[in-house]
Point group: C2
Chain length 373, copies 2
Amino acid sequence: MIYFDNAATSKYKPDVVYDAFMHYVREIGTSPGRGSYSLGVQASRMLYQSRKKVNAFFGNPSKTNVVFTKNSTEAINLFIKGFLKKGDHVLISCYEHNAVLRPIHSLYENGLITYTVLPEQVLESPESELEKYITPSTRLAAITLASNLTGQLVYSAAFGDECKKRNLTVFVDASQGGGKKLAHMERDNIDYLAFTGHKDLYALPGVGGLCSKAPLTFPPLIQGGTGIHGEHYTNPEIYPEAYESGTLNMPAIWSLKTSIEFLEENLEKISQKEQLLTQRIISGLSSLPNVDLYKPTKRRVSTVCFNVKGVSSSDVVSYLDKNGICVRGGIHCAILAHETLGTVKTGAIRVSLNYMNTEQEVDYFLDVLREMK
Amino acid sequence: MIYFDNAATSKYKPDVVYDAFMHYVREIGTSPGRGSYSLGVQASRMLYQSRKKVNAFFGNPSKTNVVFTKNSTEAINLFIKGFLKKGDHVLISCYEHNAVLRPIHSLYENGLITYTVLPEQVLESPESELEKYITPSTRLAAITLASNLTGQLVYSAAFGDECKKRNLTVFVDASQGGGKKLAHMERDNIDYLAFTGHKDLYALPGVGGLCSKAPLTFPPLIQGGTGIHGEHYTNPEIYPEAYESGTLNMPAIWSLKTSIEFLEENLEKISQKEQLLTQRIISGLSSLPNVDLYKPTKRRVSTVCFNVKGVSSSDVVSYLDKNGICVRGGIHCAILAHETLGTVKTGAIRVSLNYMNTEQEVDYFLDVLREMK
């Protein structure tokens, strides 16, 4: 079986990640911040080490400012619902995932905020274009790091610079591309960054988070037991505990800490391999006359998007599946991106590779597609 | 090391649970509802089987109505923030965990709802007492199944009956006691039930949920990608997908399905062992003259709560830790329960056992405590 759906989740993890997860489960197995016995204190130490690792990886000048969540969707909701205030105007890109669009559109429908979807030319030429979309109420730009549909990089340091000149807060959804070290909070003017562990960060499922330069001060999304200050009737004003009510998924957090270490050691090799595979698949798809390939731009992660002329994307997915190849079709939880590409009615086929894939797999995929009747 | 903090999390799981988790991770590894290729469909089937297993275990007349969350705190927040409307009056028990108290108190502070904390006699004699606390606005009773501090059962079928007579909606927080098959939604008149996997249900961390007799219709807590109906700008009105935005922690869900099967097969043995250990520890603690034992009632789970006269709970925890015993002291994320017991200032020591503990461990603990200077 050939697994080409790494943008949904990386099915295979480095062995050290499985080992770290099971080490936590078998040897520690307790919850941080709950018991003051030695093994509880050790859990808290491991949580602290994990916070430092994540923030260093994302270039956060604050070494420990991360709220761990279950996935990036929770982190995005925590941020959007907590940060935005009545009357705010928000800029989002024409490639945002529904995880960003939907909470923002709901606030808009409830009459709380307004928002504008930035077209592609603003993302490409923010210096000349961004100004046109800013109103006196504009407070936030929420931009995806990379499109989950086309793989192109959407956020750029240049865009961040223009936001900073205008005192806008910058939020980046790093669900795609988070593991490529493409987003650096300090260098790229990112105030808040959401990530998920189970995609290109190679952690086991069940952990994501929200990194921020400053501690959060807005209301938490979820209230409950915080381990400390249990005597308050509401969540105490302490960071990050007030934002992590309930038991944390500590084995997954520890697997994330370990997977980031793995990435740090192997980033160059991973990047080279993924670039090679991506160029090969783009080149192959480009040579097929019946294929519409979307946005084969250079600044990208290893996800590509196409359609076969006259064939529905679900039929292509089904045909590839019969030939042992897993790819995703239809609408990819990113309606704005489909509107941008003009693929709302047809859907699209997404192939998302990672370094564990091989040139042979890519060639086999291209052969199978070429032979499609 | 003796682990007596099972009410925080069950450190040790049955081997079949670790195996099920790793089976999912290694052999499946995909996300349900995302890819239509065979392995994606298989993931969806395993999710469906897990929904059925959870609902059967909790006696839900609806076979598949469960929203999977990261833990019970998220499930409780989803319910409380979604279900309650402006002007509602809520009844909660004097033993509620902060996971219930804090979201409710926040709604109260925001001027949206009012609530009353029911004293113990209402829980014990709902037939004669409940009526006194009901107003024309009372819409919900939110009651914990068992106290996380004292281990006593708080919710009862008799209480549920009285609620039903008055058309109140009943919500039960089964974070404690959920794995003992003590709550049966149909039999006990429970409309909504929140649970967490990692405590006495013996799943790996990262899964909880909200079971309901009817599909949810209120707004979700978290919005984002739902796998299906990706074309909508807001979460589509579909259940349960609209309430499970983002990638589910499917390996943990599968570990929960397996741990419930383990419980179903071994419930009688587990129950007998836990009762034996609990009686032994209650009997031992009762015989110590310097120990204040709280609520050693019969209707209980295997958690007991006490203080040593004249010694702070943190000193006792520390002393026990030096002797290789893990218990929790202080305030246990349940300020109402401490107010009920009169232990707000002192905190309290909680010993929470499960079937993997032994009589020898209990006896050693009692010996160590007896010798405390």
